[in-house]
Amino acid sequence: MKSISIFKSLTCVALICIIASCKKNNNEETLAGQGKVNLEFENKVGDQELELNTGAYTNANGDDFKITTFKYRISNITFNKADGSKNLIPESYLLIDAADEKTTLQTIEHVPAGDYVSMDFVIGVDSVRNFAGAQTGALDPAKGMYWSWNTGYIFVMLEGSSSKSTQADNKLAFHVGGAKAPNNTVRKVTLPFTAGGLRVRSNSQPEIHLLVDAAYLFKGTTNINFATLSGFHGGSDAVTIANNYATGMFKLDHIHN
């Protein structure tokens, strides 16, 4: 009899356990599924709004400049949780063009629901994809930001003018790219989120508002003097600029959950 009652109570314990675990699962289910996240890119030059063609700016070296083209790629967007787990969003390749408003607000789909404390992304295109075959979507070379003669993606492009530039028509033309040593310009940045983090749910669409400061091409680790460097495509000068912009071109402004 005694053994039976032990058996009964064990069964009860087991049942309670099952129920408890069911409950736990039910709680987690509200965090199951996937959601969407909007990424808004607000292009700036220091404290000023970036205005193509008309905005007048000064770099950290004190050189005047204007911007006619500002485009950049980001990829491998990853959302990180407090427990250290990471969710890399597959096929997250974005091309942002300051001249095309549609590209400054982008939606990232298939983000696993959850609470996130930071995000990582690559400025540019990862090496694997950079050396893969013909691509489509944001990586379609028909969209530009691509070198046909030295195959590969241009990661960040800034063109404009400065009275200090010694090029014809005082032009500035910075084309950053290259995914091979010794001139590898692939850079990864991590942006910690503010208190409250990012809450992704299947039934809501939070928005991350990023500030993108073009002035960081020309400061951060090396102040750029337009009289001595007014343009390049790839190479060691591109590495200098990539090292600069990795220090602060992208900043989190705020998140709407």
Partner: protein, 345 residues
Amino acid sequence: MVISLLTCWLVITVGCKKNDNEAPQTAIRFVVPSNFPTPVYQFTNNTVSNAGFDLGHRLFYENALSIDNSTNCGSCHQQFAAFANLDHQVSHGVNNCFGTRNSPPLFNLAWQQNFMWDGGVHHIELSALNAFVNPCEMANTLDNVVKTLNNKPSYPQLFISAFGSSEINSQRIFKALAQFTGMMVSANSKYDKYSRKQNGGEFTNDELAGYALFKQKCSSCHTEPLFTDNSFKSNGLELNPKDAGREIITLASADFGAFRVPTLRNVALTSPYMHNGSLSTLAQVLNHYNSGVKNHINLDAKLKQNGVLGIPLSATEQQKIITFLNTLTDNEFIHDPKFAELPPL
């Protein structure tokens, strides 16, 4: 019961026959020749199909790829010249514009790690892009190529057959072209038949002597069986080259004036020679290596052994090597109707 079984059998038999009759052509597939290494390009995510290959074939000979509807890939890559450009030192593109380098032959591209004389293009699927947009080749934009094909009535159906839907984008264009160019395998020269001990591969004494000399004097760079070691070297063509060659890509001064070591397969068909097309005959090429090599700053060490410039070759030796080089001509390849020029749609 017996009758119904018989009926079944008849239906099955008829069904089989009908399928056999309907089979329009044999399925095209990529085959690695037995004397070749493993290819670099494995058609990953781009499995060759008859429709994909046919679309690539059509695109290769499509004038609408060029800005003025005058030039196609076959303009500078002629089948009778093993898809090089006979009699042209450098390529001759739209608007009478001349490029700066000799149009290379196209075959065995699936074994190539990178493309162009300077190796700047690293994937076969992207090798056509440069020709589309170079102002001295087709002078087009990729965007416009896609738009133009979208506006040509015959193309949507070809893209449906090849890729399952009528969408025309650059990726599909490149993949179809890579199916066509990747399938261009040249492996049926007399030399190949000799290597594989097949009929038609019996070398004459002169060919054997030339082959022995070739292995001694040339094969350290022009390595069998593809007849290139895939490196970039200065071969002392010019003392002060205007074209920086591989340095443009690597930005390394040691690569200044270095160019791809080209394959020698079909070399008897691909005149003129060298990256700038400056030598018109094989005799001139052999003579260059014997006595014309200039002491360029990055001259390959193999061309400057014991302080002697070039590769000493007597007139007889040069002739024998040329005799061997003639065994590298693949007549089956240059007459293969699969790759032949197509009339406009």
